[in-house]
Amino acid sequence: MQMSGMPMPQMPQNFQQMTPRLPVNNMPSMKLPQTRLPMPMALPGRTAMAQTAMPAEPRMMSMAALREQSFTPMKEEVLTATLSSMKMPATKENVALAKSMVQSGIPLTQENVKDLKEALAKLPSVKTSDMQAATFLKSAALATTPQNITTLSNFITMNPQLGACFFEFSKEFRKLADNRKGAISSDKMAVMSKTASVMGNLVMDSKTKGSAGNAKAFKDMAGQAGIELPSFMMGSGDDELTELLNELRKVLYYQGDEDSQELYSKLEKAFAQAEDVLMAQKLINKARREGQDNFYYLQIPVKIGNEELTAELKLYYTTDYEGRRLVDRDNFEFELLVPSNNIGDSYFHVVMLNGIMSMDVGMDTPGVADFMNRSLPVLVERLSVLGYSSGEFSAYVRQDDEGVLPMDMQEFESMEALDLSY
């Protein structure tokens, strides 16, 4: 095909790479002002896949038609062969990094491997979760700094829950206030008290706050987690909690009294974890990856009975041609995991299609799934009062690992490889 009037893209020196097979609607498209098709492949309504080749002459691009057989199941051997062709040793670490790269949709090129290895070399030691964190950041064009990698890596491995962090902070603060009242300066006490109060305001609690209060807590929490919410905030600023935690760190480290050290240390542990969870959410919510599902991820502290638990939300969005994130009111999708004391976790998968809402609810056991099924008509009725039209609502028994995944990666075994070498 000849492309007139268009600059030729810069070809990488080593163009061999594996690429995950994308759904058709994610396929890149380009305009070809002048084309010369050597075979009758482009029939209306049919999808054609082609492989590009090095240009035979300037301003030319050759493309060869691909068939289903061009794709092969992805295996580790494919990764080792590619690493070898790039003159990189197929060490265990390199293969693990390559695997993480293709799972994140990053082309396995020499330059990309080098970039990631350089970023990981700044860590004291490298775990698989560090690689996953680094490749996630790179796929989203976010900085692969040691801090960002470590924050996300800890988030993947430890799965900290914001509700538990808030609860722990509140508990340790009360102990400190009771036991060391006279020894704590008033300014220090004021920062701790305000932090505990802001945390309390962010917790959803149906019994004391009602629906309106819970809706506000939810929106405030979204703002703290780095989700862009232009002007709704009423009272708390987007970064209020992070700023308070920063302030608290200064107060505790630079003005701490010896006798309260143990209590401070527990308090510090609780707020340091809260800081990490907020930072991880901010990174995830900043990420927008080409050719992959994009979503907001939010942990929502929820008070159920006497416990502070954590609900999780994943809201999918699309982007327009200028890169703005959009959620169509009539067509959207989200996952919501709501924990509870007696019936376990309820995993809602909600799909709104052309203004009709459908819901699948995954429960832990057949008994609670049946109970949920019998109760869902009540939820349907309540949602209709809110103006929602309902389609299919049903509950089922969920698999152990089914839930809201903040950084899901494509399963390696389900991927297909396409060799673009020539």
Partner: protein, 96 residues
């Protein structure tokens, strides 16, 4: 496209409203469609254009509105689960 048909190239604003960038009829509409399509703009065409645009403007909402709606929806679901949890613990049900 017939002579009486119109085409509008539109762009969505951050607040969700649709901005009409160009409009044309007849053969000029065909050229507009082509140019707008090349630029990645949305093109609307048919006799019910006004209705279609109104529907799109209503449907495409700003992030603020989405989170307002979502906060109420999530609060409703969370409250429902909490009630269900209490009922299960006490052996009751919504249907009794």
């Amino acid at each position: 496209m017939g002579e009486d048909k119109k085409a509008f190239a539109v762009r969505q604003q951050p607040d969700g409203k649709m901005e009409v960038l160009a409009a044309a009829t007849g053969k000029a509409a065909e050229k507009l469609l082509e140019a707008a399509s090349d630029s990645g703009l949305e093109v609307l065409q048919d006799g019910n254009l006004a209705e279609e645009m109104e529907r799109k403007a209503e449907r495409s909402v700003s992030p603020e509105q989405v989170w307002d709606d979502l906060s109420v929806l999530v609060a409703e679901i969370e409250g429902f689960v909490e009630e269900l949890d209490d009922l299960w613990g006490s052996g009751g049900s919504f249907n009794k």
